[in-house]
């Protein structure tokens, strides 16, 4: 019994770490317009919309975070193998992984922007100076919490995988959660405020992203501010729930039916969430429905 209570405590702690990781990951990727918002930021200058948005296309978020977290975990593993204290090892590993992330971000922005010279998009060096550091800070939070979570799974819950492999798996999961949950907030609610509500994004509006702010010109830090309010917490809840349910079913139901208990509970959890998702989708379609013209006020 005591073992299960201890396991639940670790599960809750890992879930909390994952929530922080998800929130930081989505904010980081939105500041850099990584993931699916990237195609419109990349397209904008070609349609004549010169902008001051950071465009760091390293890869999709899942592979990119697969690398950052696996790298942080691998370096932490190596430092622990050199008999360095685990906490210090995880901090050092995450810091070095963030260095690699920052370098990739700068080369991506320079390369993409220099290749758009034909359309008159200049390289704004101040974007690199001010925004790379902000994405690096958010990436550090995301990497550190995920690697710490993986270390907890191994040292406290006895997970059989080595730290770098667990980091790779959870890094890809983190990137996928942030990409699937957080990006729609940024893409539809922030990038396309130029379009009328409910108008969708017709082909003729491609690349017409928001470039000017309430006062002055918008840059990606404003997008980070927005993401930290909506998309980030949503991604955090998503990734936190994934980690929590994954560990919870293992800790509590592993002893049942020689391990099959955890598998069956996993399937049940997926089914329950599928039903909830379907219900919300149908409810949203019925409530908000297809776009209709507002009724004319009768005179």
């Amino acid at each position: 019994m005591e073992e299960i209570v201890f396991g639940i405590g670790i599960t809750a702690l890992a879930g909390a770490l994952a929530t922080v990781a998800g929130a930081a990951e989505d904010t980081e990727s939105d500041i850099g317009s990584q993931g699916d918002p990237n195609s419109q930021v990349q397209l904008a200058p070609q349609m004549g919309y010169i902008h001051r948005i950071f465009n760091k296309a390293v890869a999709g978020e899942p592979p990119a975070y697969g690398l950052w977290v696996a790298l942080g975990a691998g370096l932490a593993w190596a430092f622990m193998a050199m008999q360095i204290n685990p906490i210090l090892a995880i901090v050092l590993g995450s810091a070095l992984a963030v260095f690699v992330q920052g370098v990739y971000a700068t080369t991506a922005y320079l390369g993409r922007t220099a290749s758009l010279a034909k359309f008159g998009q200049p390289v704004y060096i101040d974007i690199l100076k001010s925004m790379t550091t902000v994405t690096m800070a958010h990436a550090f939070v995301a990497i550190f919490t995920t690697v710490a979570m993986c270390h907890l799974m191994i040292s406290a819950l006895g997970h059989p995988f080595p730290l770098p492999l667990l980091g790779l798996v959870w890094g890809i999961a983190l990137g996928a959660a942030g990409s699937a949950t957080g990006n729609p907030f940024y893409g539809k609610e922030r990038q396309y405020q130029e379009q009328k509500f409910g108008a969708g994004v017709p082909i003729s509006a491609s690349g017409n992203i928001v470039r000017y702010a309430e006062a002055g010109q918008r840059n990606s830090l404003d997008n980070g501010f927005f993401s930290a309010k909506l998309g980030g917490p949503a991604s955090g809840i998503c990734f936190g729930l994934i980690v929590f349910f994954e560990l919870w079913r293992t800790v509590v139901f592993e002893p049942l039916a020689a391990g099959w208990g955890a598998v069956i509970v996993g399937v049940i959890v997926i089914l329950v969430f599928a039903i909830i998702d379907r219900y919300i989708e149908v409810w949203a379609r019925k409530t908000f429905g297809p776009y209709t013209a507002p009724e004319e006020a009768s005179s």
Partner: protein, 283 residues
């Protein structure tokens, strides 16, 4: 939505880069064998240099493959390259001194099968698909083998599955503390997969220039060497790992500075804290 990919013309022909890449990475990987001959570990960094040369070649291959309109397919090309490559590299590593050659042959077979499947079963019908995936698989194998050799000082399987750990003051050989047992191979896989796709993914567009893209490929290669050099402190002696770290850092700084200079050359304008330059005639 997919964005049309345009690539710059001219530059060094692809076949020339292919030959330099294949021969160069093979020779550089074999230079790590000097470790076994001279019974030291100072030559481990040649594995990383082999990966850099292979990545240069792989970048040019990806550019050829993805100029057929594979916008979001650029990162996927990197993944399939390293995915096929890691199988070839690990199979090759079991054959002792023949490892790099066997890795190339096995990876080429896997890549060709993947290419045939992509063209004939998935029906992507891209003319250069089979050749490109074969090349990419070889590049992936050489990258994995090179970086793994850099981490543990040898490209032989026995060296990759045994590490040394200290228990109660005694040095003990274990599987858990090795490159494969500790899953450092997973880190190498991701380092290679992101590095191989990044240069073309970052430089694509109508203003793409071959020298800038290849300089970025070299930069990605040296950047990937830095963490592998740091990890290698856990496997090889202090001084050889320090040599590897110095080589990677110097190579990285040189290529990074060069890449920024080339970006400055190609950019429309290089501005610091200036407002949006609206094009003449308005958007």
């Amino acid at each position: 939505m997919s964005v049309k990919i345009e690539v710059g013309a001219g530059g060094i022909p692809h076949n020339q880069i292919l030959i330099y890449g294949l021969v160069g990475s093979l020779v550089l990987i074999y230079l790590t064998y000097l470790n076994t001959i001279t019974n030291t570990q100072y030559f481990a960094f040649f594995g990383g240099l082999a990966a850099v040369v292979a990545l240069l070649w792989g970048t040019d291959t990806i550019k050829h493959l993805c100029s057929y309109g594979l916008g979001t397919g650029v990162p996927s090309a990197g993944m399939i390259a390293l995915g096929s490559g890691v199988v070839g590299a690990l199979f090759g590593a079991t054959t002792g001194i023949l490892a790099p050659i066997v890795a190339i042959i096995v990876a080429a077979i896997i890549g060709a099968v993947a290419g045939v499947l992509a063209n004939n079963v998935v029906r992507m019908d891209i003319p250069v698909m089979i050749v490109s995936l074969t090349e990419l698989a070889i590049v992936g194998a050489m990258t994995v083998l090179g970086l793994a050799a850099m981490a543990c000082g040898t490209f032989e399987f026995l060296g990759m599955i045994t590490g040394t750990t200290v228990i109660l003051g005694f040095a003990v050989q274990t599987y858990e503390a090795s490159v494969i047992g500790g899953s450092i191979i997973a880190v190498i896989f991701m380092l290679g997969a992101i590095a191989i796709q990044h240069s073309f993914n970052a430089c694509l567009g109508p203003g793409e220039k071959q020298d800038r893209t290849l300089m970025l490929a070299a930069e990605c290669g040296f950047l990937s060497m830095i963490p592998v050099a740091i990890i290698s402190f856990a496997f090889i002696a202090f001084l050889p790992a320090l040599v590897a770290l110095l080589v990677s850092v110097i190579g990285w700084i040189y290529t990074y500075v060069q890449y920024i200079a080339l970006s400055k050359r190609d950019a429309y304008a290089w501005l610091d804290a200036k407002p949006i330059l609206e094009p003449k005639g308005g958007a």
